[in-house]
Amino acid sequence: MSLIEIEKHEIEEERPVRIRGLPFFPHFLLREVVVMCLIAGSLILMASLYPAGLLKPADPFDTPTPIYPEWYFLYVFGFLKFWTWDIGPLPAKVIGVTLPMVLWYGLLFMVPFIDRNPSSDIRKRKVAVALGIIAILGILYFTYFSIVHH
């Protein structure tokens, strides 16, 4: 693997910094192509081993059980089942849908503006890292909750 030394002006840096880099072509691209082949290969393999399913035709008068949404929406279902408390005039159901969708995405959008700590060193970002891990555990928990409380 051949390395080239390049001068690069990072936008946030005043002085030019020397970093070691690989030229995009052919070195970096080659690595990308290898990864692409691996992913494409696994997709074909999974598709052949586990083809996409097709159940009985839709029938609006026959509710099947259980009904699962896609796995990445399970946490919303889970939270809705989990939250059973009214707060003041807000019914539990409204809180149950607002928190995991509106509030969660609102928070996500705001991340760079909430976290004003300029450091990107993981050891100096204890609060952000802790909150991130709590969020992931929360999503996993509510996903789990939606599966067991079906």
Binding site: L3, I4, K8, E10, I11, E12, E13, V17, R20, G21, L22, P23, F24, F25, H27, F28, E32, V35, M36, I39, L43, I44, M46, A47, S48, Y50, P51, A52, G53, L54, L55, K56, P57, A58, P60, P64, I67, Y68, P69, E70, Y72, F73, V76, V94, V97, T98, M101, Y105, L108, F109, V111, P112, F113, D115, P118, S120, I122, R125, G132, I136
Partner: protein, 220 residues
């Protein structure tokens, strides 16, 4: 001068491709990004997207977005159309892999603090991309018109409909009537194959342009 050089020269004289090519070819990828597999995740999401577009176009040639024909057309794809089952299954797996890759990509950005100045807006574009990717999944789920598709969509639109203030409108726009039916289907189909692909393409362009302008973040 051999043929290759002459062809190159022909184009270079007209489009100055030499400058363009060298800036792409010589553009350096930092070593830490080239050797750390976590930096692959965005690219994997993009690869999945390209596979979804390709397989999706083939599916759209056979799929019929009406309650009467949808199920039959999917069944037809699965049993009669050559390679149809494979193409639909790859579409299915690429969709799930894309969502997983986008989520992991986001976690890398979060834990590496790659959203900090000057990349705040690229994070905002990113969260929109996550929203679009999951909406892709949601709108595609209804299309086969089987029991799961119908009932999961009924509950999903019900939940979206109970969001205060905006929920009513979301549900009106999505369902297009009182119950999931022909109206819902054409809407979901349009969202899935027209609106979302165009939106995501524009946002991806922005996303990649920002990565290119700001460079990949990393330890210096």
């Amino acid at each position: 001068m051999n043929l290759e050089d002459r062809i190159f020269k022909w184009f270079d004289e007209r489009f100055k491709i030499k400058d363009l090519l060298t800036s792409v070819i010589k553009h350096p990828a930092p070593e830490y990004a080239a050797t750390n597999p976590l930096y692959c995740l965005g690219g994997i999401a993009f690869l999945c997207f390209m596979i979804l577009v390709t397989t999706g176009v083939f599916l759209a040639m056979y799929y019929k977005p009406t309650p009467l024909e949808a199920y039959k057309s999917v069944e037809h794809i699965m049993t009669v159309v050559p390679m149809g089952s494979l193409v639909r299954s790859i579409h299915h797996w690429a969709a799930n892999t894309m969502i997983a890759a986008v989520m992991l990509h986001m976690m890398r950005i979060y834990f590496m603090g790659a959203y900090k100045k000057p990349r705040e807006l690229n994070w905002v574009v990113g969260v929109t991309l996550l929203l679009i990717t999951t909406t892709f999944g949601f709108s595609g789920y209804l299309l086969p018109w089987d029991q799961l598709a119908f009932w999961a969509t009924k509950i999903g639109t019900g939940i979206a409909g109970s969001i205060p203030v905006i929920g009513e409108y979301i549900s009106l726009i999505l369902v297009g009537g009182t119950d999931i039916g022909a109206e819902t289907m054409t809407r979901f189909f349009t969202i899935h194959v027209m609106i979302l692909p165009i939106t995501i393409a524009i946002l991806l362009l922005l996303h990649f342009a920002m990565v290119r302008i700001q460079g990949i973040s990393g330890r210096l």
